[in-house]
Symmetry: C2
Subunit: 391 residues, 2 copies
């Protein structure tokens, strides 16, 4: 019998007990169905994947760390097909219901993890974030979400998407627990790092918002920037952020095809709308284009490093617009995806840690969100900064 009225789960009852007590004692968590759990077969959001893969021989180390800190794993969650979407609609396994407003999509690809957390079914949930797959659903569902520095949390035992950008991320309803999961998965903070003293409010990122959205975020931005000594509004790049999206998509698509092209060709899986087209696009990407994109990425990283000094935080909106309605036509979905990725590509291309913080609005309006980014590797200090800001 299912109690999953939100359609968040692939297997609601799969349970792994904690291995000992720790700071996540009595906390329950759900896991995006792309993490290996000993004896469990993943779907990766596609029934052909499920049919063509054996049960996992070992549990992903990231999950083991959580079990060793006292948390109980309860349930695997729906993901967009092959994690290759930011929308949260899955033609095979259904669209998890956005707990804030069922007429809105939950966001993806870690859709079920966001919904399990947002609906209060679990204390926290684990997802993956390559192009925004934790940050977007967190913001659509009114949650705290974290994407760590690239390489900071082990991806062993996690079905890959695009290795240059893949990360393990998580969702919570409060900042303290977001930090606690970070303590378990990331360990100690960097020794001798300076306090954050400076906040850069990314003018080119905020310019993607309407005035109404901009105004809705201003008090959150002010309370954040008032916690540091100085803050300034400035462009974070002379490029158009749309160019960053193109660079990101070329590298991402190429790596996705590297990881999954052979399987796609061998099994010709039945993909839903959008996913099919994206895999087709990925197959066409040429090595020369990837080489050029990687060169541009290095230049971007150099320029961003100049801004992101060790004591500096960056503030951006998490999404450029309102959470979209369920069932939009594919071309509309793609337009939203393109706009959203102008913001998510910032952490993506630069490998930076990013926390998204929900900003509630009155009058039944869906939540918006701001994000704080920190220099690479300062994950623990960023999470602790957000706890002191929000709790």
């Amino acid at each position: 019998m299912t109690t999953d009225h939100y359609g968040a789960f692939i297997d609601e009852s799969l349970t792994v007990e904690p291995q000992k007590g720790g700071i996540l004692h009595r906390k329950t968590f759900a896991v995006k169905d792309v993490f290996h759990i000993e004896g469990h077969r993943n779907t990766a959001g596609n029934p052909h994947w499920l049919q063509s893969h054996a049960p996992a021989k070992a549990t992903a180390p990231a999950l083991v760390h959580l079990l060793q800190a006292g948390a109980t794993l309860k349930g695997t969650t729906v993901t967009d097909e092959m994690m290759y979407s930011l929308h949260g609609e899955n033609v095979h396994y259904g669209t998890p219901v956005n707990p804030f407003d069922k007429s809105l999509i939950p966001g993806g690809s870690s859709s079920g993890s966001a919904v399990a957390t947002g609906a209060g079914l679990r204390d926290f949930a684990i997802g993956t974030d390559t192009g925004g797959s934790v940050r977007i659903p967190a913001s659509y569902c009114g949650l705290f979400g974290f994407r760590p520095s690239h390489g900071k949390v082990s991806l062993e035992g996690v079905i890959p998407l695009a290795d240059s950008f893949d990360t393990v991320g998580w969702f919570t309803r409060n900042a303290a627990l977001l930090e606690d999961v970070g303590e378990v998965l990331i360990g100690d903070s960097m020794p001798d790092a300076p306090d954050f003293k400076r906040a850069v409010i990314a003018r080119d990122a905020f310019s993607l918002l309407t005035d109404t959205q901009h105004n809705a975020l201003m008090s959150a931005v002010r309370s954040c920037s008032s916690k540091v000594k100085s803050h300034e509004e400035q462009r974070i790049t002379n490029d158009d952020l749309g160019d960053w999206v193109d660079i990101f998509r070329v590298i991402q698509g190429y790596e996705i095809w590297l990881n999954h092209g052979e399987w796609v060709k061998a099994h010709e899986p039945d993909f839903g709308p959008g996913i099919r087209e994206r895999f087709h696009m990925a197959e066409q990407i040429k090595e020369a284009d990837v080489a050029e994109a990687r060169r541009r990425q290095l230049m971007i990283q150099d320029a961003t490093a100049d801004i992101m000094q060790p004591d500096t935080l960056m503030i951006i909106p998490t999404i450029a617009g309102e959470p979209p309605a369920v069932g939009l036509p594919p071309e509309e979905v793609d337009k939203i995806r393109q706009r959203t990725m102008k913001l998510t590509a910032i952490a993506g291309l630069n490998g930076l840690p990013q926390v998204t913080i929900p900003v509630k609005r009155g009058g039944g309006l869906p939540p918006l969100a701001i994000s704080i980014l920190a220099p690479k590797g300062r994950d623990r200090d960023l999470l602790s900064f957000v706890t002191s800001l929000c709790d």
Copy 2:
């Protein structure tokens, strides 16, 4: 500047940070001002005690265990003078305000610890329970409270009252945290102990209630007894429970004078009403009377052990009546104390662990409480039973 509008604290700001992470991570607790904290001077509820004692050289091991499990010690709390009362009124340090209804006493002697928990100022609080000093204030303030098996939690670094009955106890607002504190202070449960299969509903204990009070507790008693295979109503002794109180008071008074008589004679401290008379009574107790009381206690323990088989729980009301009003005359207070101790002496004389569980009533009526007692040493299993019953 004080934020302690409930008058729960002696020193609200005294803080000891956790020594590492653990299952009490992010939990805060307050401590009855009879526990040694390195560098801190205890009051034991009396200003003469404070003046005549040096700061503690070490922190009580029970507190150290909590700090090592991730909890933060925040504040020392008001206690009845010399812990020698069940009422919660202290002429020197004030009467902590019962968070349920300020016209009612909070109960004592761990009054401030109960109020700090009940008012939500701390997640849990530590007290001591000799004759009911955790169980009574827990029930008056609508809280979960625990008195462990005698000898189960270290009393090192705790100002003694009466060695035969002294225990360290604690208050929480929910059963899970009551159990978690038990896991930290008591350690693992006994190996190979049977499940609880039988509940004894103590008829002679329930007969102390009015019909209205009795009816208010019945649904809680039923939900408890339905969790075990069989239950029966029976007298737990052929004695009058009033005799048990007399036996308890003789041994308690004698030991209190052994512990503190010399100090009382040397300092002639200024005691409030009730306390003064009780110390005077304690001074008069003769060795022959104590020997006789101890003989009777052993007989009681034998008879109770026949009832409390390893698989058996006992259910009693925690208090015999309503939480009393603030400022009653001393002779009225003594009458209530005498009646209440008929129930608290059961665990006291037999060294049994006891959990008190709040029973809320509608219509602005103060909470009542039932208690579950287990065989000596089965503290962890009792706490886990209560969690499965209440959470």
